[in-house]
């Protein structure tokens, strides 16, 4: 639990909370906690929504169906308002991103010590030193998670660009765009490639940065100020409550915007 005053133990406490449970070495490290929590939350989303989808009725909806419909219609309206083309992928993709990211972000509101505490006790029961038990329960504070999402979106962007504009059209967009004069093509190319790569990079880092910062502040509050942490935790959680759905929405919105830009013909 919260370390007492001593600077050394505070930094150790924070360090401990920011370390993933991992197996493997170097690049081939797998963050077990990130994988497990994200998959569990993804399944929570899919199973709960699937249960509503199975019992879908066009008559008077039940409470859970009405809730699901609210989310689906919200995503559908957002997609229809932004994405001009027709695609069977974009809307379900946006729904998956929104709900999954939202669920993962919501993990941030679970008290920072609760899940590690439970995990450490399970570790003690299994005869493992509790200091070796690491668990980070918010998958979106892991760059692997956010980059996986943004690279998936990036792959779709490239796919749609090539599918709709063809390889030539896509290449032409890269070198002939801001200045359409042959002697400036090299300059255009540098600009456009940077802009293209900035998209998934900013997408991943924005989500990661917001959630990581929020998590870090929860840990700092928990690790440094003793009993006074309770009202401050509440204040920060109330503030963070705005960030959580907002970041999920921004990730979804930008995904739709990028994909609609990718499938736009000039």
């Amino acid at each position: 639990m919260a370390a007492s005053g001593d600077e050394q133990s505070v930094s150790a406490y924070i360090q401990h909370h920011l370390t993933n449970a991992s197996v493997g070495e170097g690049f081939w490290t797998f963050h077990i906690d990130t994988l497990a929590w994200s998959v569990v939350l993804g399944l929570v989303f899919l199973i709960s929504f699937r249960s509503a989808a199975k019992k879908m009725t066009t008559g008077v909806p039940g409470k859970w169906q009405a809730c699901v419909e609210l989310v689906v219609e919200f995503v559908d309206n957002t997609v229809k308002g932004t994405y001009q083309g027709k695609s069977p992928v974009i809307a379900p993709l946006a729904l998956t991103i929104f709900v999954w990211v939202l669920l993962m972000n919501l993990m941030d509101l679970i008290p920072v010590d609760l899940i590690p505490y439970i995990a450490q006790n399970i570790g003690i029961m299994m005869g493992v030193d509790p200091h070796d038990v690491y668990i980070k329960s918010v998958p979106t504070t892991d760059t692997s998670m956010t980059f996986a999402l943004s690279l998936g979106v990036f792959a779709l962007m490239i796919f749609y660009s090539i599918k709709i504009k063809g390889v030539g059209g896509f290449m032409k967009e890269l070198y002939a765009h801001p200045f359409n004069t042959p002697w400036l093509y090299w300059f255009n190319f540098i600009l456009e490639v940077v802009a293209l790569i900035a998209k998934p990079l900013s997408l991943a880092l924005r989500l990661f940065g917001n959630l990581y910062a929020g998590e870090l502040i929860f840990i700092l509050i928990a690790g440094t100020i003793g009993l006074w942490q309770l009202p401050i935790h509440f204040l920060w959680a109330a503030f963070h409550l705005l960030v959580i759905p907002l970041q999920a929405f921004i990730f979804m919105m930008l995904t739709i915007v990028y994909l609609s830009m990718a499938s736009e013909k000039h």
């Binding site: 493997g24 170097g26 690049f27 081939w28 490290t29 797998f30 963050h31 990130t34 994988l35 994200s38 998959v39 993804g42 989303f45 899919l46 929504f49 699937r50 509503a52 989808a53 199975k54 879908m56 009725t57 066009t58 008559g59 699901v68 419909e69 689906v72 219609e73 559908d76 069977p88 992928v89 809307a91 379900p92 993709l93 729904l95 998956t96 999954w100 998958p139 892991d142 760059t143 692997s144 998670m145 980059f147 996986a148 999402l149 690279l151 998936g152």
Partner: protein, 156 residues
């Protein structure tokens, strides 16, 4: 801090989730929503149509009511006219009947008077003859004096 092999696992999970959502979650939900929207739109259109039909029917009923009223008024008018006509006719007939009866009565009374007069005259003649017989106290040849008697009768 840098992404590691977890990324690959998450990419696979992401792909699987999106495909599952695309196949089994999104279509039934959005299908039901759109169907319900269509149902509601149809219902609203039908109600509007019904309202319009009601309005039309009301207007039609108004027209028919007015027509019926006019017709009824006409019939009543006609009946009244016919009634007065019948009354007039009957009165006329009654009057003429009365005249006829009165006239008949008059003629009958006249005939009776004439007959009575005739009788009286005859009786007076007979009385006169009898009186004359008694006054003369002699036999008179009724046959020979009949021309005188006839003269007397005519003078009465």
């Amino acid at each position: 801090m840098l992404p590691n092999a977890t990324l690959i696992g998450e990419l696979i999970a992401f792909l699987v989730f999106v495909v599952f959502c695309m196949k089994y979650v999104w279509p039934p939900i959005i299908g039901a929503i759109e169907e319900r929207q269509k149902k509601i739109a149809d219902g609203l259109a039908a109600s509007e149509e019904g309202e319009k039909a009601l309005e039309l029917a009301q207007a039609d009923a108004d027209v028919q009511l007015k027509e019926a009223k006019a017709q009824a008024a006409e019939i009543i008018d006609q009946a009244k006219k016919r009634g007065t006509q019948i009354v007039d006719e009957e009165t006329q007939r009654g009057h003429s009947e009365r005249e006829k009866i009165i006239a008949q009565g008059y003629s009958e009374v006249e005939a009776e008077r004439n007959r009575t007069k005739e009788e009286l005259r005859k009786q007076v003649a007979a009385l006169a003859i009898t009186g004359a017989e008694k006054i003369l106290e002699r036999e008179i040849d009724a046959a020979a004096q009949s021309d005188i008697v006839a003269k007397l009768v005519a003078e009465l």
